[in-house]
Symmetry: C2
Subunit: 314 residues, 2 copies
Amino acid sequence: MGVRELGLPERLGSGESLPSRVEIWEVGPRDGLQNETEVVPVEVKVEFLDRLARAGLTTLEATSFVHPKWVPQLADAEELLARLDRRDGVRYPVLVPNERGLDRALAAGVTHVAVFASATETFARRNLNSGLDAQFAMFEPVIARARESGLDVRGYVSMCFGDPWEGAVAPEQVVAVGKRLLDAGCSQLSLGDTIGVATAASVERVLDAFTESGVAIGDLAVHFHDTYGQALANTLAALRKGVTTVDSSAGGLGGCPYAESATGNLATEDLVWLLDGLGIEHGVDFDALVETSAWMATRLGRPSPSRVVRALAG
Amino acid sequence: MGVRELGLPERLGSGESLPSRVEIWEVGPRDGLQNETEVVPVEVKVEFLDRLARAGLTTLEATSFVHPKWVPQLADAEELLARLDRRDGVRYPVLVPNERGLDRALAAGVTHVAVFASATETFARRNLNSGLDAQFAMFEPVIARARESGLDVRGYVSMCFGDPWEGAVAPEQVVAVGKRLLDAGCSQLSLGDTIGVATAASVERVLDAFTESGVAIGDLAVHFHDTYGQALANTLAALRKGVTTVDSSAGGLGGCPYAESATGNLATEDLVWLLDGLGIEHGVDFDALVETSAWMATRLGRPSPSRVVRALAG
């Protein structure tokens, strides 16, 4: 029995406005599969993307043009995009870490790219081999050239709610990084809780810091990890603040691959269940989505981390 | 790194009032262990309860006086209570299904009991062998006699948000059942989402129906299951409505025992993580709680369903 058979949904009665429609930014093919120890065959990736598009998802983060030395799981980016039947009305953004990545993305004919920045000094140095400021010296020419080439650019901001080395992250610092990405030409920010430590209160705090500094809530997406079980509660808090783009991963792909039960990205199925309950449109065929994640779990040889998928397809 | 190291929590800025303190009603020893295929030895149960009390939990639902034929896992209720070192300041409520159960509970010297009612006709017939009205003929004398004996009585209302046979459940029907339990002498209702289908919107709808009918929000507890990943988001919705008692199960015990990954009750650890983030007092020593659940998972021979426990103790 789905939530939709349980009566007509109604809006939360709190006086806050929930959005009437949410765009789901599906990150499973990129953020999920890049964490697999065994490389997924390109034809499986193509079928995964095709099934997700048929299930009604209209934003599919397809792959990353990071150097294959760093992420061998996505070394087939060119071949994937060449094989992919890109559908009308579906965006297939790709991650580009630098100018070389942008060259590859342009050659592959992509129309949407994303850059991946850090909100904290330590993570910038560890993950990007640059400081908090130095990362912009790398990104700004990439964003500028992407825009000149007519591409849309999304800016990921990681460690927005906490950092394993620095602990708490000041919302002002997150806003400073985010605004610099917007000023450089990003059309949207995805605020990432990379280590899963956000709670509803810190989500509201960071979103408020952005809107108080003049950033429109419509330019902000949220990207939660379920490490401590908070991802969906955090999403609810963000929706109540008016956020209309939510990142999620079909079947919850993206957990640590060497621990069967590890939890990663917010599962798209769990998100859709919440949105259905709240009466928020999303355009996704729930049954087709669950079927796709169950199929992918079989390909990966382990159960889906999504509670919905396990309950319905387990 | 715990959420508490991530900076001082602040209140949600929505204008709604969150409670300053929440009472966690720990149901793991009863609602969790009653689902185990293999009976847990009584000395393990006693140690589990003792560890939970030492971790600062002050309401521990200890066992059930249901007939051992139905729940052999809790057939040791008398022995458990006899062995248990009941601490000052800690309540040890027990479930009593009928007059015989109350006799046993009184003989064991309990001070808090709970009765288990259904919000729907079908579940009442299937689980309690009585209709929706007939269940009161069974409960009312139990509640009356418990009260006369000086006991506090809690009323569980199951299937408040959906029923596997009836689908949607009208909030008015839930309110009617709940009010009848309050009128009979229950001091508190625990509104149960027995099959995990509630979402934030239906939680608010049911709570509003109660308060609009004159029931104080302080007389209502919530009891969520994480079948579809919604339990914590539902809890957040309930807290924002002013609910101050939340049922949860240490380590998320209570999943279907024959499926390793099945999800059951809201995990107490995930709840504590949320409450810490929201700056809501609860009195629980988080590390001692996680350690207890990790210990219990070892006793049960399978990983804890709690995301927090898996992340910190896995």
